[in-house]
């Protein structure tokens, strides 16, 4: 059985319509000229890669909207999906 994710704009759709966009809360460090190579590498490549509950950015490819999904990376249970308005610090 294919899993279904709920797009906040379109409702439940097949998992194949979605693409993983990265971990939520990974904000681009600014201003660029003051950012060290290590910090930039951290932003670009380093991951929390949570085992269990994770907060992630996804895109629904068919409508093109980005949103936040909270789910369990072991059981694949979805806790909630919500529109993405930019993360609050």
């Amino acid at each position: 059985m294919m899993q279904r994710f709920s797009c906040p704009f379109c409702g439940p759709r097949d998992e194949t319509e979605f693409f993983y966009g990265g971990e939520a809360g990974n904000e681009r460090p600014e201003p660029a000229e003051n950012i060290s190579a290590d910090r930039w590498a951290q932003y670009l490549h380093m991951e929390k890669n949570e085992n269990g509950r994770a907060r992630e950015i996804w895109v629904h490819l068919t409508c093109g909207e980005f949103f936040v999904m909270e789910r369990d990376t072991v059981t694949h249970e979805i806790y909630k999906t919500e529109a993405f308005h930019g993360e609050q610090k």
Binding site: E15, A37, A41, A54
Partner: protein, 417 residues
């Protein structure tokens, strides 16, 4: 202590009804401290422990495994060994592993059933043939064996392939590496375990690491479900769970975990005597000694720690299989499973010191850790014993992400990662 395996011993035991075999390794309880401690009892961890004792003469080596040895990705992969990579750094690494594999049965006195039946990577257009020629040239320049095959040469090796004129992925030719092959994956773990045990390594199963002992900013050992264990030097080889362990040690890795699935069909008579990969479908397969077709493909699309695999990718892999071999549509699938793999942005491993001094990592192998086991173990042992890189592991240090010197094999090698 297990005696030396030989044809004579097999014959002698056969006469006695095989009642005299001893366990190949001992299941030890942890000591309070070790000179070197390896976390992870998969192929890489076991190889590391073996080479710490064999290459560096360390007497007090401990290996911790949370479940049973070889029960993770070492027992879940599709057993392919190859070194058909694009960049010199990668070929140096994977061909080192392949060379060690070539002598491993003798080295370990344990038959790992390495069968060098070759791998064909099939291209489907003139443009892909240009890519194939580029990779073949790169491999030859980097000093490993590679040949460019034309359509007839591919079909000569694999006559059951879909040869229809209207095939979705027509056969134009491909890349051949004759020294590639398959080995018995469990035997690699068991062979290293037996050889390490013989050199005095403590193999400790059912012992899960729950934290690190950090003293003066340095890793001084680990906390486990069976108590604290101190160590002079510590190495981790826990692909699939690298981020879980690194979080305990207080740093992040450039790793995202995904499920990688595999499946086998019912056993049939010999029909495929190479490893075969289609560039177009990403599906690859080989036939096991038992006759099962062992099938794999790309990664699942959803980051996951669930060792199951999702149906959409399974469908994609199998539709690829039927495009390649229409006749296999009649076969029944026997089993399907998945392992969790460390996916790194440049599809190359992470080998080197970590931000926690005294702790070294071997991980990030993505979809191809099995083929690298002897090299991964050799290099991590070198790091732990000498506290500095081997020249082969240097390019794979985590510092490449800040330096921008990635080894991007996903873009380079045109191989499913």
């Amino acid at each position: 202590m297990a005696s030396k395996y030989s044809a004579f011993q097999l014959f002698k035991e056969g006469l006695k009804g095989h009642t005299g075999w001893e366990p190949a390794w001992q299941d030890k309880s942890p000591s309070p401290s070790y000179d070197a401690l390896v976390i992870g009892g998969g192929g890489h961890g076991l190889a590391t422990a073996y080479y710490l004792a064999r290459n560096h003469g360390l007497k007090r080596v401990g290996l911790l495994e949370k479940g049973w040895i070889g029960g993770g990705n070492t027992g879940r992969n599709t057993t392919v060994i190859r070194s058909n990579y694009f960049y010199p750094e990668s070929v140096a690494l994977y061909d080192f592993a392949l060379k060690l594999y070539e002598g491993l049965s003798r080295e370990l006195n344990y038959n790992i059933m390495f069968s060098q039946r070759g791998i064909a990577v099939v291209a489907h257009s003139e443009l892909e043939m240009e890519m194939a020629a580029r990779i073949t040239n790169a491999m030859q320049i980097n000093g490993t064996d590679a040949e460019l095959l034309n359509r007839e040469q591919v079909l000569e090796r694999v006559p059951l392939l879909n040869q229809n004129d209207d095939a979705r992925f027509p056969i134009f030719g491909g890349i051949w590496q004759g020294r590639a092959g398959v080995a018995r994956h469990d035997a690699v773990a068991w062979g290293y375990a037996r050889a390490a045990d013989k050199l005095g390594v403590d193999i400790i199963q059912n012992c899960e690491v729950t934290g690190f002992l950090i003293e003066n900013g340095r890793c001084a050992g680990v906390k486990t479900t069976r108590g604290e264990i101190r160590a002079g030097t510590t190495g981790m080889a826990v692909a699939g769970n690298s981020s879980v362990l690194s979080a305990m040690a207080g740093f992040e890795l450039p790793v995202r975990s995904f499920a990688l699935q595999a499946m086998v069909t019912e056993p049939v008579k010999p029909c495929l005597d190479t490893v075969l990969l289609y560039m177009g479908t990403g599906t690859y397969l080989s036939q096991s000694d038992k006759g099962e077709l062992v099938i794999g493909g790309g990664l699942d699309r959803i980051p996951s720690y669930g060792q199951r695999g999702n149906p959409p990718l399974q469908e994609e892999i199998l539709s690829g299989l039927l495009e390649m071999f229409p006749a296999f549509g009649q076969l029944k699938l026997l089993r399907q499973w998945a392992g969790i793999v460390d996916v790194v942005p440049d599809s190359s491993p992470v080998i080197g010191p970590t931000p926690l001094p005294g702790l070294y990592i071997n991980g990030g192998w993505g979809t191809g850790g099995f083929k690298a086991i002897p090299a991964g173990g050799w290099l991590l042992a070198h790091l732990m014993a000498n506290e500095e890189h081997h020249e082969i592991s240097r390019p794979f240090d985590m510092d490449r992400f800040a330096r921008g010197r990635l080894i991007d094999e996903a873009a380079g090698a045109a191989i499913a990662h």
